[in-house]
């Protein structure tokens, strides 16, 4: 039986790992290579690593450095940040990335997702969808410059273009550790069939349980819980497993 996935999401500013609150106030939380080594030793299901300042600063992601992060990982790794062309994707896949995470190019040039999916296979093209509540029961697609795009319309387009996965982050819940925006997750899952990873707000194993019980989600991502609490991905999956969700554990001593 296919297992649910719990995925650490590492955000990088070009120098160190940072943890944001509602996408602001970045706080340095460590060294990516060490973090990747720790998450690998904890046997996590997958890892997402994204350089959140690359596009904004007009940089390309540092391939030499990212390769060192990937080299620590013996599980699937998704890499994002500063992707502007299919060559950028090819560069990341060549150094061992399993998937790439695309955000700005998905907003600015819609045909790019389709082109990338055709060239490299949909399974390795993930799209980052950052959603901010607007106050009238909708969510707007969040980016550095306002997009004015409705999140549900945008995920439909992302699916039509052929993305393999959507990494859906609630900007409002980011770093707050007070639970997921389950309403957002439910609405997105009702809109698309593409696999979705729900991110933003997971601060305790109970938050993950609530997310999996209230929605039909199969994968969740988080970061603050791994930096600022005693809980590991094992604790989260133990919680889910105890409530009947199929979770992946490594046999003790193996």
């Amino acid at each position: 039986m296919l297992k649910v996935r719990i995925i650490p999401v590492l955000t990088f500013n070009g120098f160190a790992l940072v943890k944001t609150k509602q996408f602001g106030n970045p706080r340095m939380v460590g060294n990516p290579i060490q973090a990747a080594r720790v998450f690998n030793s904890r046997n996590v299901d997958e890892l997402v690593f994204t350089d959140i300042t690359a596009t904004y600063s007009g940089r390309k992601i540092n391939l030499t450095f990212v390769k060192e992060v990937i080299d620590e990982c013996f599980m699937p790794v998704t890499i994002g940040g500063g992707i502007r062309s299919t060559e950028d994707i090819n560069d990341l896949l060549k150094i061992g990335a399993d998937k790439v995470l695309i955000k700005s190019m998905a907003i600015n040039n819609r045909s790019f997702i389709g082109e990338a999916a055709r060239l490299f296979g949909a399974q390795c093209i993930s799209v980052a969808v950052d959603a901010r509540r607007t106050g009238d029961g909708r969510w707007e697609l969040h980016s550095k410059t306002p997009t004015g795009l409705d999140v549900l319309e945008f995920v439909k387009m992302v699916e039509q273009e052929g993305a393999g996965e959507i990494i859906l982050t609630s900007v409002d819940r980011d770093g707050m550790m007070q639970g997921f925006d389950t309403e957002l997750v439910e609405q997105v899952l009702n809109t698309v069939n593409t696999p979705v990873v729900a991110v933003g707000g997971g601060g305790s194993p109970e938050h993950f349980l609530e997310l999996f019980q209230k929605t039909n989600i199969k994968a969740a991502g988080a970061s603050a819980i791994f930096y600022f609490t005693q809980f590991t991905s094992y604790d989260i999956k133990k919680k889910l497993g105890d409530h009947g969700f199929p979770a992946r554990f490594m046999a003790a001593g193996k």
Binding site: M1, L2, K3, R5, N40, N43, D45, I70, D71, F74, M75, P76, L93, K94, I95, G96, D98, G121, A122, Q123, C124, G164, N193, P195, K218, A219, R248, M250, A251, K254
Partner: protein, 201 residues
């Protein structure tokens, strides 16, 4: 015993090479038929379409070298994901075409009520423990839209459950193939690689 990872322009070489380094298997990565002919263990990775892969293997002379090397009887082969599917006689991705023909069978599109591709961690039902040992109940990482349907049930080394049984590994003599990615399956995957490399052809 020399090992070569066959480079035919189709994906995941870096990850496979890294996993072999991790378990201490000396190897080279090569696109040359003569190096394949000289190796004792062949690793055939791959991501992409069956037909494109066979075109690359045929035009480079690698397909012929692999078949001759395995036919000689003192070499073994590990196929991973697409590399496992290429062991079959026939593929259909996107059009019907011939495979390496090392394990009788066909590779067909997955058809079930579940989302395609089958992507994520899934556990195995082990039929032939030669390269699995005591790994029952552990999960392995899968990403695929096509699956291997062997002609002989005896060639099925393991299945996984995804809307019904799906072949997860095949083995016929010295030829072993896994649909999942051992190089991406954490310790369970590395253990399968260790078992494979610990045994002689």
């Amino acid at each position: 015993m020399s090992c070569v990872i066959i480079n035919y322009g189709m994906g995941n070489l870096a990850s496979v090479s890294k996993a072999l380094r991790k378990i201490g298997v000396a190897h080279s990565v090569s696109a040359h038929p003569e190096e394949v002919m000289a190796a004792h263990t062949l690793v055939l990775p791959g991501v992409g379409s069956f037909q494109a892969a066979m075109e690359n293997l045929n035009s480079s002379g690698l397909a012929e070298a692999i078949k001759m090397r395995i036919g000689s009887g003192d070499a073994k082969l590990l196929g991973i994901c697409l590399g496992m599917q290429l062991l079959a006689d026939t593929g259909f991705e996107p059009e019907r075409c011939s495979g390496l023909g090392l394990i009788p069978g066909e590779v067909r599109a997955l058809e079930c009520d579940m989302p395609i591709p089958h992507m994520g961690w899934n556990n195995l039902d082990i039929k032939n423990p030669t390269y699995f040992g005591e790994l029952e109940d552990l999960d392995f990482y899968f990403v695929h839209s096509y699956h291997f349907v062997p002609q002989h049930e005896a060639d099925i080394a393991a299945t996984t459950d995804y809307g019904g049984p799906v072949v997860a590994a095949v083995q016929r003599g010295p030829v072993f193939g896994c649909q999942f990615h051992p190089e991406k399956s954490q310790r369970s995957g590395l253990m399968v690689l260790e078992h494979f490399f610990a045994q002689n052809a």
